[in-house]
Amino acid sequence: MKKIYFDHNATTPVDPEVLDAMLPFLKEEFGNPSSIHWAGRNSRKAIEEGRDKVCRLLNCANLELIFTSSGTEGDNHAIKGVAYAKKEKGNHIITTKVEHPAVLNTCKHLAKDGFETTYLDVDSDGMIDLEVLKAAITPKTILISIMYANNETGVILPIKEIGDIAKARDVTFHTDAVQAAGKIPLDAQKLNVDLLTISGHKLYGPKGTGALFAKRGVRLVPLIHGGHHDRNRRGGTENVAGIAGLGKAAEIAMRDMEKESAQLSTLRNRIEKGLAEKIPHIKVNGHADKRLPNTANISFEFVEGESLLLNLDMKGIAASSGSACTSGSLEPSHVLLAMGLTHEMSHGSVRFSLGKSNTAGDVEYLIEIMPAIVERMRSMSPLYAGAK
């Protein structure tokens, strides 16, 4: 059976060049990068080269990067790190209703320690209102954490403008750029961001790797206490192979981003148009332009998302509804509900997230098989009869 992978926002395959960059450090180059002897030297060099490459992708200085074990760790480190470092100053955090659980649940956890979080609403396009953000800032506000691009809809938030507001009001600003990194250009210098999280496995790097950009002067309480790694900011002997891989992935992203993004948006637009032409009662979710080039989030009215995904899977197509991390839950997508979709429409959404391996043929195959799947599920739906 044909196998087509349309779930790149969940994770991406490791690029063969990335694997090649990693292998020596899983084989002969075993040394501890903190050792002063010959065995550690190449490991140290690999880390510093990896750091250079990631910093080039983010346009930041080498001292401003902390390697992490994941995007989730980066989000935790940024939010808890700032909260605990600034707790004398205030206890108020501002974020949005559409963040990844790595941010939402970290803020929820901090409530136990007396921190209060404002969760900003989004409009039907998935955008926040900057005036509402401004009004939410109080003298007790210590941190704003707003994602760069949403994992479910691909909607890109106005990070530059948010950073300007945060700077003017002297509030630390973190952005979860896990979905943006590698897909659209990021520039930590131009944006007024203090902290920015990325994750390796979303850009063809290894799972369990990531990095946190922390601007010079931003105070962070470490999440993991230990040795003098990453200038005392994160203990633990570095994941040398992972860092070499992450660096290579960043380098490749820099090189290929422009070309790829043009290709992906062409394919993505074709999916949206092709399905809309053939299937009535569907809705594309998220802002029309301010969106990642690779992501299509579509609601199929009267049917439920998981049953569509199972049908697609039987035809060899991997896609998802909501995010991979929340698919264990029964609730429809918190992101789509926040955008004002009804329960049924949120439940009936499918996310197609494209990547390097996808071809025009994959897209045409999807457009060919999808109408029958939707029709079959609708014929079983008690909600559909009335709408015909």
């Binding site: 439920e304 998981e306 839950s329 439940h347 008690p382």
Partner: protein
């Protein structure tokens, strides 16, 4: 994640639709997830002669709907009333733990349909 039986009933659901001139209809929503099932039955001499379903729900909801129709067809009302969500889940060789609640939908819709029949029949 799902057993072969679940996937079989999901891909080839039995008894989809609505029974004509139904003796009883049960429509229930699952409070846990908001999914909906509608089950209609045709009863003659206290035996369920025909049964059909329509479901807006996940794979497990559709498979349990299909399975419950197979389980009750030809059964007496007394026998059908004893069918619980566990009976349906078992008949499908089990469901993943997070999906156990989905089988409530099928059992609840069946019991609601029987209740509806009894009310209409004045029993």
């Amino acid at each position: 994640m799902y057993s072969e039986k679940v996937m079989d009933h999901f891909s080839n659901p039995r008894n989809v639709g609505e029974v004509e001139n139904a003796s009883g209809v049960g429509t229930v929503g699952n409070p846990a997830c908001g999914d909906i099932m509608k089950l209609s039955i045709k009863v003659e001499n206290d035996v369920i002669q025909d049964v059909k379903f329509k479901t807006f729900g996940c794979g497990a909801a559709i498979a349990t709907s299909s399975m419950v129709t197979e389980l009750v067809k030809g059964k007496t009302l007394d026998e059908a009333e004893r069918i619980s969500n566990a009976t349906v889940a078992e008949a499908l060789d089990g469901l993943p733990p997070v999906k156990m609640h989905c089988s409530n939908l099928a059992a609840d819709a069946l019991h609601a349909a029987i209740e509806d029949f009894k009310k209409k029949a004045g029993k």
